[in-house]
């Protein structure tokens, strides 16, 4: 049995919105990272689906660019979290609200 591209796109959209809502709802910074990764991977899934539909290898190549970028982001992100953690020993995003107004 074969699924039409729509299903895959639907799944990707679903994963994307889960990631987005997750970032809005959750407090912990690490969980937020994961949500961003989810959204990026949803984009990858969409790329692959369209590559297959359009029968164009380019789409699949793009996935690797996105993966590389995601990895770089995580490395830098964790670094920043560690510096903040050393200072305030908390990873809850809400504690960091001294800059406002």
């Amino acid at each position: 049995m074969s699924l039409s591209a729509g299903w895959y796109l639907g799944l990707a959209a679903l994963v994307f919105s889960i990631g987005a809502i997750g970032l809005l709802v959750r407090r912990n910074v690490l969980i937020m990272f994961m949500c961003i990764e989810l959204m990026l991977n949803a984009a990858n899934l969409t790329f692959v689906t369209f590559a297959r539909v359009l029968n164009d290898i380019g789409g699949q190549a793009i996935v690797f660019f996105v993966l590389v970028v995601a990895a770089a982001e995580v490395v830098v992100g964790l670094g920043i979290v560690v510096t903040n953690f050393r200072r305030r020993s908390t990873t809850v995003a809400d504690d960091l609200h001294s800059l406002k107004g």
Binding site: M39, A43, T46, L54, G58, G59, V66, T83
Partner: protein
């Protein structure tokens, strides 16, 4: 140079059948980013060889040379474009036209100026090492990439290189708590918007079958897409990514906190380079590829512009911290540049480019001065610290006044020509009300620029109501209005009640010294290189203001290779 290395090592494997076609690469077209990144790597290595105290000075000189050479190559590119015309290179992924060359020049100059400012900052804060310059060079390269990209993915890559380097730069000064917090906020929100941006690209790729801007344009012009829901969704998500980076309202929330938290030279760099790169990419995407559906995205840009103009000006009024005030003023400037984008014509493009160029000088100069006045620990940014600056350091105060008034759009500064060009572009596109809103917001913005000037040129704080010594001599009884014929409801005192509170609030007469407890702000030593950078910015703002012809022509000839509709 790398290509040559690879070619040398591969002859043993090659056979006629399985030769992999490599797209012909015209290195001139992408030379500036290569110089920047290559230079950064070299600088990293070189700096580690030098002894610790000299490292900052060496890396400053290095980055000045690198950005200088990038600028030189850009000028060479300009002559090439003018003679041989604009083309796309490296399998149409990159384009070299007047537009991209100008963006490259802009970013190279910004990098050069920031390097000069950073030198003074780093020595003052006691941070050794070349990391700052390396990261700055890399992010500048990312911005250049965005400028010359003709492919959505290249734009995305440029965006990410730019952003990730900036996240680290924001967290650079680990002694300041705010710096860490700002970096974290910037990272989370940046990641979020990049993810949205990528998803947008994916949808656009799905709708148009390619991520190459020219091919998208061909696709759209050939077949009239009845239900292009997919394309519009993709466009919407991409606009979110761009709007976030450009700090247009409602995606601006990060700007004030990050600008305040980040080390001041980084803020200046970020304000100039990030905006330049993002706007370049936005202009190219909207004008070159999505020119056909202008009627769809024009209202969005209209709305973004209005919101940014109004909110940027209005909220800045209430700021007591100079960096946060300049952050909101940069949102206001983003609104102005969006005016040029909204026009959708080639005049709009050249207007936005001119505005970016002028804005770069003004913002880097302003933040350089704020860096100097921030003193040790880079935290002394409360407005009350600026009172009486003109008496203590007249030249610095005059420079800051000129830069602020230029941002307000005072004649014979590039600020005015920028606003004039942008408003002319949008008025010519028929959006006269937008022009009016823009200029009214400029008038409102003028208030908080002026307020800083008032403070700098005000003398002793009139807390006790006795008059300052400047301007009037001899014993002076305060000439309060004589009550004269008074009718109950109309006493002059009551009438002028509101006015005196406004007057006091203007001069912040209420507050005494800033929370940092320093009784009287002392004279601040301006490091030589920072002085040079400030001087360059002020000179550029005033000279190009009085003689606008060269810069206006240059921006006008920096046209896009392909203009959609």
């Amino acid at each position: 140079m790398i290509g040559a290395l690879l070619a040398a090592s591969a002859p043993t494997v090659s056979s006629a059948a399985d030769r992999i076609p490599i797209p012909s690469i015209r290195y001139l077209s992408i030379m500036p980013p290569i110089i920047m990144i290559g230079g950064a790597v070299l600088l990293l290595g070189l700096a580690s060889l030098v002894s610790r105290p000299l490292r900052v000075r060496v890396s400053t000189i290095g980055s000045v040379i690198i950005s200088g050479s990038a600028l030189g190559v850009a000028i060479w590119q300009w002559t090439d474009v003018q003679s041989h015309g604009a083309h796309t290179y490296i399998a149409h992924a990159v384009v070299m036209d007047g537009f991209s060359v100008l963006v490259t020049m802009l970013i190279a100059i910004a990098m050069l100026l920031t390097a000069l400012v950073a030198d003074g900052y780093l020595t003052r804060e006691g941070i050794s090492g070349a990391e700052f310059h390396v990261l700055a060079l890399v992010s500048a390269a990312g911005a250049m990439l965005m400028g010359l990209a003709n492919d959505l993915i290249i734009i995305f890559l440029g965006l990410e290189i730019l952003s990730i380097a900036l996240y680290v730069l924001t967290a650079f000064n680990h002694r300041r708590a705010a710096s860490g917090e700002a970096a974290l906020k910037y990272f989370i929100l940046g990641g979020f918007s990049s993810a949205i941006f990528v998803y947008g690209i994916a949808l656009t790729y799905g709708a148009t079958g390619s991520t190459n801007l020219t091919q998208i344009a061909d696709y759209l012009s050939k077949n009239v897409v009845l239900t292009n829901g997919l394309l519009l969704a993709g466009l919407a998500l991409m606009l979110v990514g761009f709007a976030f980076k450009v700090a247009a309202v409602p995606f601006h929330m990060w700007t004030p906190d990050v600008y305040e938290g980040a080390p001041t030279p980084v803020t200046g760099f970020m304000a100039a380079v990030a905006k330049a790169g993002a706007f370049a990419a936005l202009l190219r995407v909207l004008f070159s590829s999505l020119g056909v559906i202008t009627s769809d995205w024009q209202p969005i840009v209209y709305a973004l512009a209005v919101l940014s103009l109004v909110l940027g000006a209005v909220v800045a009024l209430r700021q007591r911290d100079v960096k946060r005030m300049l952050a909101y003023s940069s949102i206001n400037h983003a609104g102005f540049i969006l005016l040029g984008v909204e026009a959708g014509t080639s005049r709009g493009v050249s207007a936005s480019l001119y505005y970016l160029f002028a804005y770069m000088f003004m913002t880097i100069g302003s933040f350089a001065i704020v860096t100097v006045l921030g003193r040790e620990g880079d935290s002394d940014h409360d407005l009350t610290r600026y009172r009486g600056l003109a008496q203590r350091q007249p030249l610095l105060a005059l420079c800051f006044a000129v830069l602020l008034l230029a941002q307000a759009g005072v004649p014979f500064t590039t600020g005015l020509w920028a606003k004039l060009e942008v408003v002319l572009a949008t008025v010519s596109a028929g959006a006269v009300p937008l022009g009016v809103i823009a200029m009214v917001s400029a008038a409102v913005a003028a208030f908080f620029y002026l307020r800083v000037a008032v403070l700098m040129y005000a003398s002793k704080p009139e807390v006790t109501g006795e008059t300052g010594e400047s301007g009037d001599e001899g014993a002076r009884p305060p000439a309060c209005p004589d009550p004269g014929a008074q009718i109950g409801w109309a006493t002059p005192q009551a009438a002028s009640g509101t006015v005196t509170t406004l007057n006091a609030e203007l001069l912040l007469a209420g507050e005494e010294a800033a929370p940092s407890g320093e009784a009287e702000p002392t004279v601040v030593r301006v490091p030589a290189l920072t002085g040079v950078s400030i001087g360059l910015c002020v000179a550029a703002t005033v000279v190009f203001g009085i003689i606008p012809a060269p810069l206006v022509d240059f921006a006008n000839r920096a046209t896009l290779l392909f203009l959609g509709h």
